[in-house]
């Protein structure tokens, strides 16, 4: 049984079809990327998966149907989203943001261990734990968003454009951390416009174009694909 099985996922805003029936499969422990141009429907697909927008089609998580469940119920089952633009709580402190990540958890001891793990991954956040999250730099905010998601101890982590709006050197740092989180055994679905980076860090990938998946395969194979090269890697 796969961790996530999606069949014919459709998301529409009014009359506009953003996602036109896509199939996805993610196995436990994988890092899978979903790449595509602006407006291809990647973010909408993620929002559909986690119940933030109305959607049709079948979503099975650990074999269980998720359709129709509200977001908070899906999160309680072990799926967590790091939203596009990070979505940190600007007027709460760094520590309070991380606490919010563990909102659904009651296991005090393990939560403290995870907090230490986050501070190990991002010493910067430990230094600034009392500071308001809104006063952090863009890169630090992305670190905080990732850290907050780790605090939920998710079985599947959905990342929406973690490189967006960051300096190249900060992007590198974030991607090192994503690889590290994956090594910890967290399954990750990574949505990214920066195809080059996404294909480097992931094992498998899906390519989306105007609402549909047009190509799928091992990341290395996708990176060598002439069409992907031409359209997304600029080679």
């Amino acid at each position: 049984m796969s961790l996530l099985e999606v069949k014919g996922l459709k998301v529409a805003y009014g009359g506009i079809q953003a996602v036109r029936g896509i199939d996805l499969v993610i196995e436990q422990g994988e890092l899978v990327c979903l790449i595509g141009a602006n407006g291809a429907g990647k973010s909408s697909a993620l929002k559909g998966l986690i119940g933030l927008v109305q959607h049709h089609g079948e979503v099975r998580f650990t074999g269980e149907r998720l359709n129709g469940l509200p977001t908070h119920a899906i999160v309680a089952k072990g799926m967590t989203l790091v939203p596009e633009g990070r979505g940190i709580f600007a007027r709460l402190s760094v520590a309070e943001n991380l606490d919010m990540g563990a909102y659904t958890r009651r296991d005090v001891g393990p939560v403290r261990l995870d907090l230490n793990r986050v501070y190990d991954l991002f010493p910067r956040l430990a230094e600034r734990r009392a500071q308001l999250a809104g006063t952090l730099s863009g890169g630090e905010q992305q670190m905080l968003a990732l850290g907050r998601a780790i605090m939920a101890r998710p079985r599947l982590l959905l990342l929406d454009e973690p490189s967006m709006g960051l300096a190249p050197i900060m992007v590198q740092k974030i991607y090192q951390t994503i690889a590290e989180i994956a090594r910890d055994g967290v399954t990750i679905l990574l949505v990214e416009q920066n195809a080059h980076l996404a294909l480097q860090v992931s094992q498998r990938g899906y390519v989306m174009e105007s609402g549909s998946v047009v190509l799928t395969g091992a990341s290395q194979a996708l990176a060598d694909d002439p069409m992907v090269k031409a359209a997304y890697l600029g080679e």
Binding site: T71, P83, L92, S93, Y103, S137, G139, E140, I169
Partner: protein, 370 residues
């Protein structure tokens, strides 16, 4: 002078005791020093403190801009009037009527919240404003075909609150001193204000309070944290509204008379101003705002007498001058203390830290290289 607050901070028990004594004797000091009418002003200050703390749950904690808050105050007041006045010939005891008013208002809070769950900011403000007006207009017109609210005339002869046969609405002589109703109501309102403060404090530090803060900051991210955003928002509306309903019931009993006029949009705006002026989200700030905005307009009424004394006649109508000064004070506040007089810890940090972000960006890039 500088050492006095420090000294109080080092002796919190003593500071608390002093405050308790001061609050206990305040109505007597005020009535001797300023006249009996000022005890009434004090009562209203407490009533508005309850209202402002209630609205602060919705606006300050959960970040939902509600411009129709006065409707809940109206509902509490009218329920009190219906259940203990000659209007329907009912005279139920206050300990039954006050909680019912809070409950009714809370129910209407959910009723207002449910259709507006997807709205935020300006849009929510407009819908809530409409809701407030709808309630007022209903109260104004529900005198026919069945007379429920007595229309614009309002409901008169509402029972005063009476505790164990001791009516707060009558003059009593205690130890040879005449004590008047506003003084009794002062203690009752003080009790309910303290109760409201306690609840507001507990809510702020609770799991629910943290969920409200998260929704205020970013609703999508809050949902992604596993917060049931729908129920938590409805809870904010309901909690805030029930304090409005409670205050409404107290108001009806205190005044003995209510009419739709008391529940217009200006009142909603005023309560919001109290929160903004005092410091949104911060309990002492909100109370300070409520007290200032109740007492100041009353104090400014003396402007007419002063003009007559200084110039021989009244040049500017004190009522106009009062609103003008009030408006100027609000503008000055927003320019010089945008976070409020007593801002919350978070807002204070936010306003202080805004400049430092650029240097930090540079510093963190340096870190990433290392």
């Amino acid at each position: 002078m500088r050492s006095v607050p420090d000294w109080l901070r080092r002796h919190p028990g003593l500071a608390f005791g002093l405050l308790a004594v001061l609050l206990a004797v305040l109505p007597f000091i005020v009535s001797i020093g300023l006249g009996r009418g000022w005890v009434r002003v004090l009562d209203f200050a407490l009533l508005y403190a309850i209202l402002a703390l209630g609205l602060n749950i919705v606006v300050g904690y959960a970040g939902l801009l509600d411009l129709g808050y006065i409707a809940f105050y109206a509902l509490g007041a009218y329920l009190f009037a219906w259940l203990s006045s000659p209007q329907f010939g009912l005279h139920l005891p206050f300990w039954l009527v006050l909680p019912s008013g809070a409950l009714l208002a809370g129910g209407f809070g959910v009723l207002l919240g449910a259709p507006t769950l997807r709205l935020r900011g300006d849009y929510l403000a407009i819908v809530t404003l409409g809701f407030g007006e709808i309630v007022r207009i209903f109260m104004n017109n529900l005198d026919a075909p069945v007379n429920i609210t007595n229309g614009p005339q309002g409901i008169n002869l509402i029972d005063p609150i009476s505790i164990g046969g001791f009516s707060l609405g009558a003059r009593h002589t205690i130890l040879g001193v005449h004590v008047f109703p506003p003084t009794f109501y002062y203690y009752l309102f003080l009790f309910f204000t303290l109760f409201t403060i306690l609840v507001a404090m507990r809510l702020q530090d609770s799991r629910i309070g943290r969920a409200w803060a998260a929704i205020r900051e970013d609703e999508v991210a809050a949902a992604a944290m596993g917060i049931d955003t729908r129920n938590i928002k409805l809870l904010a509306f309901a909690m805030g509204a029930s304090f409005g309903g409670l205050a409404g019931g107290l108001f009806a009993a205190f005044q003995g008379f209510i009419s739709p006029e008391s529940f217009n949009l200006m009142e909603s705006v005023m309560i919001l101003c109290m929160i903004v002026l005092g410091g949104m989200g911060n309990i002492p700030g909100v109370i300070l705002g409520a007290v200032l905005l109740t007492v100041l307009p009353e104090a400014l009424r003396y402007l007419g007498a002063w003009q007559r004394a200084a110039l021989g006649h009244v040049v500017v109508d004190p009522n106009d001058l009062r609103m003008l000064l009030f408006g100027l004070a609000m503008v000055a506040m927003m320019l010089y203390r945008p976070a409020g007089l007593l801002p919350s810890r978070q807002r204070r940090r936010e306003f202080r830290a805004e400049d430092g972000a650029a240097e930090q960006e540079a510093a963190s890039l340096y870190d990433a290289k290392a």
